[in-house]
Symmetry: C2
Subunit: 245 residues, 2 copies
DNA sequence: CATCGCTTGTGTACGTTGTACACCGCAAGA
DNA sequence: TCTTGCGGTGTACAACGTACACAAGCGATG
């Protein structure tokens, strides 16, 4: 059904990940995928996602703007490489084996990882999923779910429910944090007091009485960690109940 | 403590939202926030998030590239405007009042909304939160949670747990869908069979046996709706259990 | 040792983006 | 009638991603 393109297309060129694992192919080359990934991550950590530019990365590596393109097909590849690299920081000890503990531990660690590398919340979600390290993380979590008598659908659904929650929660936490920083607030009361004019206008319009009342009253609002873990535990509780595990 | 800037800064200019609600200020003007928002949304729906460009939007409006800047401070404002506009499509009937039904209904509708406007998954998460319509949506959901004897922290946490899950789940669903489309697959078996070479390399490497086995066995994989609702119900179950409601 | 070819880095160049800024016409208030 | 200022225009710039032709160095082959 699918039409074959030119014969050249038969020559499958090694994928990004295959190349990533090749033993250092040429000793004299200045650039490697490792070096590129490291520099990009370091740059993103230091100056934020927007600073990660092919040109900026090149100067960071002391190399011409187009040099990286020999190793990476474009910016999407670069993001994938960066995500894969920092994902290796996730380390749940092997002793932890219970499904709930494994999933919870990964959730908490993923949050810390993303807070440590806030640019992770900004990468275009497309190519993010299928990097080797991310798949290894998934593998570990799924492995904790076998032997519970679940069918494949339930297993995948449970795994993904947690993952989705974590992604959404941390992303919004990061967004909020950056929004605050960008407007020069510290944290907490000061922030809520000196809200942006737009927020003030809306809040004082009287249209959101409940929101207003309760967001002022919520005292744990300055402890995003608590809120995050509450959410994780909700998801885990729900999974346990629904799947009878 | 906070240092006052120039006196000019005292003159608070009306916020985007204040201006949005002003009755048509000048009858003969070609551009309004409404018209801009409508055109931008329509463009994004039709040609995707990347097509939404200040210049492109201008030609769509039959106007010079810089014209929109008289009404909108920049692209972030535009995104906020767009998000706010489509968020008005959410409509949960007033008859629904139980906290669980309200939250679930908003969750399901938000998914449908985002699938209908896939560009929503790509908007830089920053300015998204605090638009009037989004706050009204939050208000409605929080209102469903009062009178349950919860303290403010629990209420906000419950509300946000659901929101976070929805955001994460739908975002990844959209990303997956676009990834598939971009690679020319239809849905389902065909997709999994003709996976991208990178995926093949990784999957066949034998490093992810569980992932491989179960993702092949999962038969509901082509029904994202089921998976989504499973997750929502997990979160809701967990909230009910943890908060005793 | 000479030569070839492949890999890897370089230089230049193009089209597109967001947006700053100066300008100008026109409706409304004096 | 004159002035004011709002709203649309036109030009301009710096930065972006990346295509493409080229060059320098190495390994294999003669």
């Amino acid at each position: 059904m699918a039409e074959w393109k030119k014969d050249e297309s038969r020559i499958v060129e090694p994928s990004l990940w295959e190349r990533l694992e090749r033993t250092a192919p040429a000793p004299r080359t200045a650039l490697t995928l490792e070096r590129i990934a490291a520099a990009a991550v370091e740059l993103a950590d230091r100056e934020g996602a927007d600073a990660v530019t092919m040109r900026r990365l090149a100067t960071e590596l002391g190399v011409a703007p187009m040099a990286a393109y020999r190793h990476v097909s474009g910016k999407d590849d670069l993001w994938a490489l960066m995500i894969d690299r920092v994902s290796a920081e996730l380390a749940v000890p092997d002793e932890i084996t219970g499904w709930r503990e494994v999933l919870r531990s990964f959730a908490v660690q993923t949050r810390e990882l993303m807070l440590r590398h806030p640019w992770m919340g900004r990468v275009p979600a497309g190519a993010v999923q299928l990097t080797p390290t991310r798949m290894a993380v998934a593998e570990r979590q799924l492995a904790a779910l076998v032997d519970l008598g679940l069918d494949a659908d339930a297993m995948m659904a449970a795994f993904r429910a947690v993952t989705s929650y974590v992604q959404g929660a941390v992303q919004s936490e990061i967004a909020l944090r950056e929004f605050k920083e960008q407007h020069g607030w510290g944290s907490g009361a000061e922030a809520r007091q000196a809200l942006a004019p737009q927020m003030n206008y809306l809040m004082e319009s009287g249209r959101y009485p409940v929101y207003r009342t309760y967001s002022l009253a919520a005292s744990r609002k300055d402890d995003p960690g608590w809120e995050f873990e509450f959410g994780v535990d909700c998801v885990l509780d729900g999974i346990a109940r629904r799947l009878g595990i």
